[in-house]
């Protein structure tokens, strides 16, 4: 495509990074509805898109943003949208349809404070919503990024995961990542040897339907329970089969850790700083970071946890990551300490302080 020649270091906001990533990933159309802190994705996209023959449609709400995105994907285009907070709540209706029909939508979520309108700033309170929202079983892929480089990398990857496995795919970031400026390296995926998974139209293929080819008859509604069960069984099986291929995580110093810190997203940065600082002091602390929150790196976390004495879950929510952790560690019995801060940022110093307390056995 030659949008970006070679590797290019740049300082920009996370929202800008997403727009660039979508562009180099070959996204052909964005559908969107404004919401803070996601707005600048659209704002950059509307500046970049016309220069590269890409399209944009501002819709009347997030329901429409989600359903038009579905429409775009159905034509075989890499289509995406972005949202946050109450918009993400509404986005669950279209994404439940995408989940049911295996439509490879890509949604970027910039989490903000919740519940309700709450704050336009920041949180990690949309984890449960993004992983399991809707009236289904959460057959989605959710990448939790922690830096602009990752926002860029995983936005590109999201299109490939979506189109390869046909599950709705989310890039889950937050208001800090959206709004802050930091450096990243832009690149053209092709030049890095990243092949973009080819897309394929669901509707509008060439030929006369019913003659040259079967017509597309796409539905999400079934008449009897057993019909639905059959579809779900197949989808669940394919989801579980895919999981090991796409699970991603990061870990450090897990061997014999007195405390293993578990964090995701931007909070992971604070957790990692805290852990490295104490590790540098010679304390036995490590971290485990799920990058895919859905599917969750269960085995990997279990192995890391098995080598640790205690756990500490740190998040800007009241136990949403914690629930994932407990669910995936069922059967183990390490004590889990927590640092739960719904809607507010977590600093490395705070994590350090909590870690010291735990390490010194001062915590009740």
């Amino acid at each position: 495509m030659g949008i970006i020649e070679g590797e290019k270091k740049a300082f920009m906001t996370g929202n800008e990074a997403v727009a660039w990533a979508a562009l180099v990933a070959g996204a052909e159309i964005m559908y969107g509805y404004p919401i803070t802190p996601q707005n600048e994705i659209m704002q950059y996209w509307t500046r970049l898109a016309p220069k590269h023959g890409r399209k944009f449609l501002q819709t009347e709400d997030e329901l429409s943003a989600g359903f038009t995105t579905i429409g775009g994907v159905l034509t075989g285009k890499r289509a995406f949208t972005a949202t946050a907070g109450p918009g993400n709540v509404l986005m669950q209706e279209p994404m439940s349809m995408a989940e049911a029909m295996r439509i490879p939508t890509v949604v970027v979520v910039q989490q903000r404070g919740g519940p309700s309108t709450a704050t336009v700033i920041y949180s990690q309170q949309e984890v449960t919503l993004t992983c399991f929202g809707g009236n289904g079983e959460g057959l989605r892929v959710v990448y939790s990024t922690s830096s602009h480089q990752e926002l860029y990398d995983y936005t590109i990857k999201a299109f490939n995961t979506a189109w390869k496995y046909r599950f709705p795919t989310f890039v889950l970031a937050d208001g800090y990542q959206a709004k802050m400026r930091e450096s990243l390296v832009l690149y053209d995926p092709e030049e890095r040897g990243i092949e973009m998974v080819p897309t394929e139209p669901f509707v509008g293929k060439p030929g006369m339907p019913g003659e040259d080819r079967p017509p597309a008859h796409l539905r999400n509604t079934y008449n009897i329970e057993e019909e639905l069960e059959e579809v779900l069984k197949k989808d669940i099986q394919e989801y579980e089969q895919m999981a090991p291929e796409i699970i991603e995580y990061d870990e450090f110093n897990t061997d014999g850790a007195d405390v293993l810190v578990i964090a995701h997203g931007v909070v992971f940065r604070s957790a990692a700083m805290a852990v490295r600082k104490l590790a540098d002091e010679g304390l036995k602390v490590g971290y485990f970071r799920p990058i895919t929150l859905r599917p969750f790196p269960q085995e990997q976390l279990r192995q890391a946890a098995a080598k640790a004495k205690q756990l500490m879950v740190v998040e800007s929510a009241y136990g949403q990551l914690l629930k994932l952790v407990k669910d995936n560690l069922y059967g183990m019995d390490l004590p889990i300490h927590t640092h739960l801060r719904p809607g507010v940022g977590v600093t490395p110093e705070e994590v350090v302080a909590d870690l010291r307390t735990v390490l010194e056995g001062r915590e009740d």
Partner: protein, 249 residues
């Protein structure tokens, strides 16, 4: 003589008899649409979207690419398709509940934006699929499952005048009409014009079709005809509300 049913070619014969009730107007509207698709020779270019409501029963009705969407969300799905593939002829097929209640933000915004799509909206005065509750189009005094004593306009509101609304907010290139299954030829004409208007990319195209629902109306054939032919048009005047001036060349 080997006589075959005169189904439109674009119908999917394998799924016939279709799933609509005896005497259901959906069948007539889709027959009109099928004939128009045949006559225009566009079967391979159409993408048909059906809503949740009895319209969902048409998910495998045609031999054309079909997407069954969510209740009220057929408009945005079709808008999304059209924006991405303007060469397709998209038809959003929905009920009065889907179009005027839960999906009305999509309808009015697509109309305002002048999206080049065709919406066919089936006005049967009830929420049929769910068993006959009041719809935005329920007539004053009409008994439904949620207006058991008749629609009291003071409490439950007045009927929605959809084409009138769409006509008020659309551009000159838009096409807006209200037809009826009781006027089959006119209905076909309106649908044809609506599709031609889309193909010419002149503007948003909208046809409301007065339809029958003997099941929820609890009417026999006679009363069914009477309701759709005589009573409904008193509230819902038939005709074209907006016809684009066709520029030659």
């Amino acid at each position: 003589m080997d006589i075959q049913p005169k189904m439109p070619k674009s119908w999917n014969a394998a799924t016939k008899p279709h799933k609509f009730c005896p005497g259901c107007g959906h069948g007539l509207i889709l027959k009109a649409l099928g004939q128009v698709i045949d006559e225009m020779g566009i079967q391979d270019r159409v993408v048909f979207g059906c809503d949740i409501g009895c319209s969902l029963l048409s998910w495998d009705f045609f031999n054309v690419d079909t997407v069954q969407t969510h209740h009220g969300r057929t408009t945005p799905v079709m808008v999304g398709i059209k924006k991405a593939r303007p060469d397709r002829i998209v038809i959003a097929y929905m009920g009065d509940g889907g179009g005027y209640a839960i999906g009305s933000q999509h309808l009015v915004n697509a109309a305002t934006r002048d999206d080049k799509i065709t919406v066919i909206l089936v006005n049967n005065t009830v929420y049929a699929m769910t068993g006959g509750q009041m719809a935005p189009t329920t007539m004053p005094g009409q008994k439904t499952e949620t207006t058991p004593f008749g629609r009291d306009v003071e409490q439950a509101g007045y009927p929605m005048m959809g084409p009138e609304m769409v006509a008020a907010i659309t551009q000159e290139g838009a096409y807006v009409a209200r037809g009826s299954v009781a006027k089959f030829r006119k209905l076909k004409e309106y649908i044809r014009k609506a599709l031609e208007n889309q193909i010419a990319m002149r503007g948003f195209s909208f046809v409301e079709a007065l339809s029958t629902c003997p099941t929820n109306w609890r009417t026999n054939a006679e009363k069914t005809w009477e309701f759709v032919e005589k009573i409904m048009p008193e509230q819902y005047p038939l005709g074209e509300l907006k016809v684009p001036v066709i520029k030659e060349g």
